[in-house]
Symmetry: C2
Subunit: 312 residues, 2 copies
C-alpha cells in the first residue's frame, strides 16, 4: 500500500483535487477549471495531468500512491461506470476508472459526487464513528448519500440516496425539476424554503421583517433568530416536510445519524429545533433516536470522500 491518495471532486465549474496521506490528512488542495468542450472529453485528461504534475513536484512515485478516488455528477454503478449521462458535464456511458488507467497503474474508483461527500463526512467529518449515516445536502436541491455499514448505497442505477425526490405532498400544483409533483426538494431545499416563504407572505398581511428585503434561506432563518412570527411559521412548515421525509428514510435504512450540509445548513443548530420534533413525530419508534448533526467538511467533503474510497 502506498503512502498517498488523491481525492478528486469533478464539478461543473472546477475540478477540486486533494492530496491525502494514508492517515486521511489533507496535505494540499487545489482546483483546475472544468473544460466542458467536446462533451467534457478533456476533463479527465486535464485531471490526470494535474495529478501527474503534483506527483512530480512532490517527488511522489506511482509506488507511493495507494490510488485515486473520483466523485462526479451522474449515476455510477459499483464499478464506477457512468450509467446514462451526466448532463452537467456532457458525459455519457463510459468508465472513469478505464479512462484514468491510461495514465496511472494504481487502483481508481469513481462514485457519484453526493455519495462521495457522504462518504467523506463519515470518514473524516461529522459522521465519524457512525457506520450507518445519511448525508442530507440542502442546497439548490436536496441531495443525499446513504452509508450502510460503512459502504455507499449506490443502488441499481446509481440513484441510491436521491432522497430529494421522495414524494411528500399530495396537494402540490407546481412541478419539481424532475417533473413529478410534491417532491421533498420542493420544500426543503434553499429554493423550496424560499417558495414556502413567498407563499406564506402572500397569504396575508401579518407584519414580518421578511417583507423588507429579498427572501432567501438565510433571511428566513435570520428572521427566525429574531423571533419573527411569520418566519417561525415558515421554519415550522419546512421542518415538517423535512422531518417527514427523513422519517421515511429512517424507516428504510435506520441510520445512527443524519448529517445536514449544504447552503441551508449554514443557519446552524437552530435548524434542528424545527426538524427534530417533526422527525420524531413521523418516525417509527425504533428509528427515532437518530442523531442530527451539522456537516463539518463543507466543500471539501467530496475530495475527502473520494480519497476515502481508496484509504478507508
Amino acid at each position: 500500500m502506498g503512502k498517498y491518495a488523491f481525492g478528486v471532486d469533478v464539478g461543473g465549474t472546477t475540478v477540486k483535487l486533494g492530496l491525502f496521506d494514508v492517515e486521511g490528512q489533507l496535505l494540499e488542495k487545489w482546483e483546475i477549471p472544468t473544460n466542458k468542450e467536446n462533451a467534457g472529453a478533456g476533463i479527465l485528461p486535464d485531471t490526470a495531468r494535474s495529478i501527474l504534475a503534483k506527483m512530480q513536484e512532490r517527488q511522489i512515485s506511482e509506488a507511493d500512491l495507494a490510488g485515486i478516488g473520483i466523485g462526479a455528477p451522474g449515476a455510477y454503478d459499483s464499478e464506477g461506470n457512468l450509467v446514462g449521462s451526466s448532463v452537467n458535464l456532457g458525459w455519457s456511458d463510459f468508465s472513469i476508472p478505464e479512462k484514468m488507467k491510461a495514465y496511472f497503474n494504481v487502483p481508481i474508483k469513481a462514485v457519484n459526487d453526493a455519495n462521495a461527500a457522504a462518504f467523506g463526512e463519515m470518514w473524516m467529518g461529522a459522521g465519524k464513528g457512525y457506520k450507518n449515516m445519511v448525508l442530507v445536502t440542502l442546497g439548490t436541491g436536496v441531495g443525499g448519500g446513504i452509508i450502510v455499514n460503512e459502504h455507499i448505497v449506490t443502488g441499481a442505477n446509481g440513484a441510491g440516496g436521491e432522497i430529494g425526490h421522495i414524494h411528500i405532498e399530495d396537494n402540490e400544483a407546481e412541478c419539481c425539476n424532475c417533473k413529478n409533483k410534491g417532491c421533498l426538494e420542493q420544500y426543503a431545499s434553499a429554493t423550496g424554503l424560499v417558495r414556502l416563504a413567498k407563499r406564506r407572505l402572500a397569504k396575508d398581511d401579518t407584519p414580518s421583517i421578511l417583507r423588507n428585503d429579498k427572501v432567501s434561506a438565510k433571511s428566513v432563518f435570520d428572521a427566525v433568530k429574531e423571533k419573527d412570527a411569520v418566519a417561525v411559521e415558515i421554519a415550522e412548515e419546512f421542518g415538517d416536510y423535512l422531518g417527514k421525509g427523513l422519517a421515511a428514510v429512517a424507516g428504510v435504512v435506520n441510520p445512527e445519524a443524519f448529517v445536514i450540509g449544504g447552503g441551508v445548513s449554514k443557519a446552524g443548530e437552530i435548524l434542528f429545533t424545527y426538524i427534530r420534533p417533526c422527525f420524531e413525530k413521523y418516525a417509527y419508534a425504533p428509528c427515532r433516536n437518530a442523531k442530527f448533526v451539522l456537516a463539518t467538511l463543507g466543500n471539501d467533503a467530496g475530495i475527502y470522500g473520494a480519497a476515502g474510497l481508496i484509504l478507508h
Copy 2:
C-alpha cells in the same frame, strides 16, 4: 468448509428448521413447537437438541457443518445480538450466537426474521440474480427486508427495512399499532386493505359483490377479478398507497426489484396492475424501472435466508 448448513426460522408458534447442502438445496425441513415458558428460555436449547438429533440421524459430524443461521422476531445488530426485546418470544437483550455456541463449535449467525426472508428470496427465490432488492411482506402488517449489494440492511437498531411504518397519509384519524397515524401498514397490509374496503363500502350504496360476505384481502381481489367496480376502486386506493410507499423506498436504496410476499400476494400478478402505475407516478425517474415480482419461497423463505447467511 462443511457440506451442510442448518437454517432456522423462530416463530411465535413453531420453530422451522431446514437442512441444506452447500449448493443451497433444501434436503429436509421440519418443525418443533416454540416453548414460550420462562421468557422463551427453552427455545434455543430445544432448537439445538433438534439439530443435534438430526445430525446424529443423518450421521453428519460437526466437521461436515458449515454453520447455523437463525432468523427470529426482534431487532438484531450486525453481530446477531438482540437489541431490546422480542415481545413475541419473551426474549430480551442477549446474543443468539453466544447461546448456541454452548452446543456447536461452528459459525452461528442471527438476524431478524423478515430480513432472513428477504435474504432467502434473494439467494434462492424470486430475487435470485438481483444484488439490490426489497422484500415487501403484505400480511397482517407490512414487513420488509432490504438487500443492498447482497447484504441485509440491518441499520443502527436492527430496524432497517421496517417500511410498514413509513408515514404516507396526513389525514388519518386512527392510530397504527405503532401509535403513529398514517403508516403504510394502515392501508397496504391485509388488515389495511380490509379497512379501506369497509370505508369504501360504508360511503354509499353502490352495488358490489363485496356486500354479500365478510370482506377479506382475498375477497377484494377476487371481486377485482370479476371486474366489480367498487372492488376496483378499493384496489386502486390500495395501489396508490403502496406505490407511493415503495417509491419512497426506491428513492433511498434504488433497488433492481421489489419482491412481494405475504398473504395479500396470493392475489397474484393482478396486484401489480394496481401498484406499478402508482409506483411509476411517484418514483424519481432513475428509480422507476424497478421490477415487481411475486415471492416464490412462501413460508420457507426464512429457513432459506437463515441458511444463506452461512452458505451465500
